[in-house]
Symmetry: C2
Subunit: 339 residues, 2 copies
């Protein structure tokens, strides 16, 4: 789920910075087969340069032409395209579709939006389709009570959507940091979890200081670091959109990472080990000052209880558990959020 | 989990048939890193020909030498090997290990064991290590009450194991048919489910008569049949070790397969669709004569309830649900089992 280097919103900010006019087109609704999901952006400058995509090439030309008008008028409009040209759609999805695109002259605080995205903070751009006003809300930030539940739901699902609230239409464009799974332990479970997590849309990296385990042969196409968690996590820290999966059951390797994950408020902290192993682990963590309420958040035994019978099935149980934690998490009100 | 063409037990049966003496070596316990799991076989004939493996090459020579004695004496013995030669172990698992191997002159009804395996029936070979007597029990077959719970557990987990029952040692070698997931619908969910299911150890095939969906481009390295379930399932029927996943939500395509799965006693029957879609589906199936108790076994909504937010996450939810059904299933006593 990592964004490319040239995210359209980063390009738009750069254009704005050097004084160019900018229009932003956003897919706000799709029917049938649509090549680009709701929330996708195409950004256009006053000279017709563009970055991004709303349809993979089918209707970009028309949107760019309209964008120049929108820039001239400092206005906003909604465009709708039926897509008849079946060959333009993805192989196997050529049954046609329609998309609705919201096109506006850039008027919102794009610097703050990009800043949140860069800091891996979940953020939403909320646009009233009635008056074109747009505002930005970070996850947990105070917001109009009528929008609260809907926005929390969008933050949980990561899905941008057109919603009706008290008779008004809003488009909620949510930008979730790409969720990452950090696995401590280059073991059998991790060998299966890594490709599965990628298939499910997660970034993943494996950390294990034991060079006999952490070999590229055993982990092809996976980010693998053969070093101690205390060193690795200093350079690239855990955060609230990271799931920490500790599976070495060696306290020397697991413990620091688990403690760090609890401090960082990771979306998931899971640790492999027998009841006895976990009891000793809890004692060590209590001695480090963690209280029982925090420790109760550790998923141990790790993974959903599906009767997994081998390392590959344990990997499925863990991945399902991580998804459940991500998609059903409580959206905590945060005073500290930059307003 | 498909067996190779030359399963050691098939080779042993063929040797027996032509009058050769046969010894069977079986891994009954492992400590540390062992290259072959508990239950693995090496079969040896009276001239030292062999098939299969108990250690991936480390100790086969010694086992074969012992086998010739065992054949001569019509006896059985237990061998133990510590593996010091680290290079013999798999890359990354070179921390040494020990294995215990049970070696016997073939004395059990290997024809019946292979017949069960060929018919995709779960079966166990139960060997008393005290007196060397071995007997065969199919899943659900009546058996000594003291062994019942332990054997049921082994059938659920698919794990062969050394057990103590009433002071006696038994080795339970369970042979589970390779579980298969049959997916009706070559859709987005299936594109992710297919590689994931393989990683988790399942065979998988995708059936969809819509040739625009069922294209090899969209499903590389997966068994894909662009035909109607009614035709495909006639040729290769569903059985109790098949999970049926119906995700087209088109009754013309899904319904027959779902009904067939209920008739076959599939380990899992799941169907995608809204509450309303499922209600109409149940009505149609009731009209076909299925009673409510049977229909209640359909997993709908399909997959564990983990808040899955996109097709890839739904695939994880389905796979976890299938594993749970496989590993926690009730072992039903079956009168019809061949004794």
């Amino acid at each position: 789920m990592s964004e490319g280097l040239l995210h359209p919103l980063a390009v738009a900010e750069a254009w704005k910075k050097v004084g160019r006019d900018v229009a932003i087109a956003t897919v706000i609704e799709t029917w049938g087969s649509a090549p680009r999901p709701v929330g996708s952006h195409l950004v256009i400058d006053g000279e017709g340069n563009f970055e991004g995509s709303v349809s993979g090439g089918c209707v970009e030309g028309a949107v760019i032409a309209e964008a120049l008008d929108v820039i001239a008028d400092r206005a906003a409009k909604t465009l709708e395209f039926g897509v008849a040209d079946e060959t333009a759609w993805r192989v196997g999805l050529s049954c046609g579709g329609r998309i609705r695109v919201y096109l506006e002259s850039l008027s919102f605080d794009i610097e703050r939006l990009n800043d949140c995205r860069d800091r891996r903070e979940a953020v939403a751009l909320i646009t009233s389709l009635d008056d074109g006003k747009a505002f930005i809300a970070a996850e947990g930030q105070e917001i109009a009570p009528a929008l609260r539940a809907t926005l929390d739901g969008a933050f949980r699902s990561g899905k941008s959507a057109l919603v009706e609230v008290e008779g008004k239409s809003f488009f909620l464009n949510v930008y979730l940091p790409p969720p990452e799974i950090v696995v401590i332990g280059a073991v059998h479970i991790s060998q299966v979890l890594a490709p599965m997590a990628k298939l499910a849309g997660f970034d993943i990296r494996i950390i294990d200081p034991r060079t006999a385990f952490a070999t590229p042969d055993r982990f092809p196409d996976v980010e693998l670091v053969a070093d101690w968690p205390i060193d690795v996590l200093k350079e690239r820290p855990l955060d609230r959109y990271t799931a920490l999966v500790a599976v070495t059951h060696d306290p020397k390797i697991d413990d620091f990472a688990i403690a760090e994950a609890l401090r960082a408020g990771c979306l998931y902290v899971g640790a492999l080990g027998s009841r006895k192993t976990h009891a000793s682990r809890l004692e060590r963590l209590r001695a480090e000052g963690f209280d029982d309420a925090v420790l109760a958040g550790i998923h141990a035994p790790i993974g959903l209880n599906i009767g997994a019978s081998n390392p590959a099935e344990i990997a499925v149980a863990i991945l399902a558990d991580v998804i459940q934690s991500l998609r059903t998490r409580e959206i905590v009100a945060r005073d500290s959020v930059q307003q």
